[in-house]
Symmetry: none
DNA sequence: GATGAATGAGAGTTCATTCAT
DNA sequence: CATGAATGAACTCTCATTCAT
């Protein structure tokens, strides 16, 4: 058997049917929360029989997990392709990453709310997300350490701390968007929020 | 109004039943999300008949709304009793408010998750919460304005902006707690987060 | 104890509360079928407590029976006060009786439908109605016999037969009204129907 | 269309289940009015799961409508196959039609009462029945017109009127049967009633 | 006698999941 | 592997009736 070269993390879902189910579910999640979507609706839209669903996802919930996996993979891919060493400003790198994620989440309000609901309800999902956040924090830490060396960031707290809080800032935006400002693009919220909180990260002018 | 001693016992009993239902629901919400709780479970635990539930709450959802209302009222009461004019540091006032809220939310992880889920699913609830956040922001704004005058806070952004972002900082803590650090007290997260982000609010040392 | 003179068949319902309940029920029956009316609605409209209902009517169904009794009594009273001996045309007498009943039924479509439903469901009610129909038939028979003697009606069938079918003609009108022509006054239907079917009752011109 | 033998067995099974539900409902309607029958009873008797009911009838009420449709269809079929042009007596044709309907209704007293109740309660059902009555009246009209030409019927009223009242005569029988004479065959009542009222339809002997 | 809180069986309906075809 | 009929537990909500006050 020939070696599968570069089998990226997204090397699942070859079968077309699975993809169809997936897409149908995604589309429906734009309309209403996941737990108000029935398997029948999904299969109907995917134009397969109801029972077929369970050949691809052992459980309705598994679909959500698979979906999360895709999102997470997408983010990982992006993170991998980043070359922050070359950047002049690490803050800019972080801003880019956040915008990237904001664009994924921002595609659909309802779907993102569904995810939130699901994360509140499923330990498994929560762990997946937590892991991703951890990963992102790790990478951000490298960036912040570099930035500290270059005098970009404050040094009275560790790079880890900087990374930790930077990554968490995203959640302000996410909740604001979901709860109160669904009409504003999520990435705009990200921009504004990062701008506002930047002083908590950068090096202060030396008092003299 | 004349006291009606005859019916007062009955009224007390009635209030008691309502409270029993309420408490039973709260207790259950510590175990699982609200929409996985059945009315029957609630009544069973409250030791009343199933139908009784609907004498007190026209709808299962109304219970959640009533619960939210109670929480919101509690916060309002606290806000009203504050006398921020007398405070030496407005930042401290805000910290107090946030800790107060953190203590309410912090009572039960699952219950708070339930609320989150419910807020994602119900427009009504979302609006209630949004209103409370608005109110809190308004009050915070007064504090920040005062603080700006006294040289406590930066003046390159409006007091409104300061208030807006300060209030939203709470959400970082809330999500961190719900998603990743359920074992750490929510109010500790609040302390740490406020400390970290303080530089984005206070007046910088004049460079010289 | 003084003798209660002329205590007519309607000598029930002295208590005002009972009457209020009764009236409330009647009013509601104008709006919807009896079994869609709840005891609570009735007591609310009567402005008494729910439990009070059951002091006056052992059962919800009993109210309907009482109502029927009232209607039946009203008809009996009317029948008693008739003096058909003095009439020139017995057919006219019958027409009068029918119009009287039509006016009672015609007061409310929904209420009459409710009665029909109830009669289909309750043996008791059915018997009451049947008895009234019998009574009416008996009286009509006397009239028809008189009319036969006077040459008004055909003599090839018995007066009993004439009475029987005459009384039943009313049902054509009732069903037509309930099912298809709710907008036309019931008594008009009675007039037209009696006119049409008159030839089946009167004496034919002697062929010679 | 190509025969699909593979699925035909399944289709047969499906039809069978539907029929089982239908029959179970019919059987129960012989015992009590439709609205006192629960879906659970029906499925129990049909020996299928409760949920299965709703695969076949979206609503409990729809079952009744389907049942009515069947009856109505049966009548339409009969009407279509009639060839009244060839009849010597149009009155006889009408008598046949009425007997046919009487046989359907006469199969079960309770079921017919159920239908009556349902018709009183559902606009939809009422309309269906009214339509059928209309259709029957239309057809009867043709017969009466023919009969008028042939000297069978009176000519001082229109064929439409004759048809209208003839058709409505059936209701006398139906109510008599349902309310007072459940033990007498409905079709006997039809015979007797038609006989009695015939003089209101036929041409009178010319007085001479 | 009046009250209304409490009862609890029961309603119609939904839907994730199974499994014979 | 796909199908979709069947399952049945679970859901929210209703309401005639009871009974302690």
């Amino acid at each position: 058997m020939i070696e599968r070269p570069l089998s990226s993390r997204r090397e699942r879902r070859k079968e077309e049917t699975r993809q169809r189910l997936f897409d149908a579910a995604l589309a429906l999640m734009q309309e209403k929360p996941f737990d108000q979507i029935t398997v029948e609706e999904i299969t109907e839209r995917a134009d397969v029989a109801k029972g077929t669903f369970f050949s691809y996802f052992p459980t309705k919930e598994q679909l959500l997990i698979a979906y999360t996996q895709e999102m997470v993979d997408e983010v990982y891919e992006f993170l991998e392709q980043l070359q922050p060493e070359n950047a002049t400003s690490q803050w800019e790198v972080m801003r880019q990453v956040m915008r990237f994620i904001a664009e994924i989440d921002g595609r659909s309000l309802e779907r993102t709310r569904s995810m939130m609901v699901a994360c509140c309800q499923s330990n498994h999902l929560r762990e997946m997300m937590a892991q991703m956040v951890d990963e992102a924090t790790q990478r951000a830490m490298l960036g912040f350490a570099r930035g500290q060396e270059q005098g970009e960031f404050r040094t009275d707290v560790s790079a880890e701390q900087l990374a930790y809080y930077a990554v968490r800032l995203y959640r302000i935006c996410l909740m604001e968007w979901m709860m109160e400002r669904p009409d504003q693009p999520l990435s705009d919220l990200v921009e504004q929020t990062l701008d506002f909180f930047k002083p908590a990260f950068v090096k202060q002018e030396e008092p003299r």
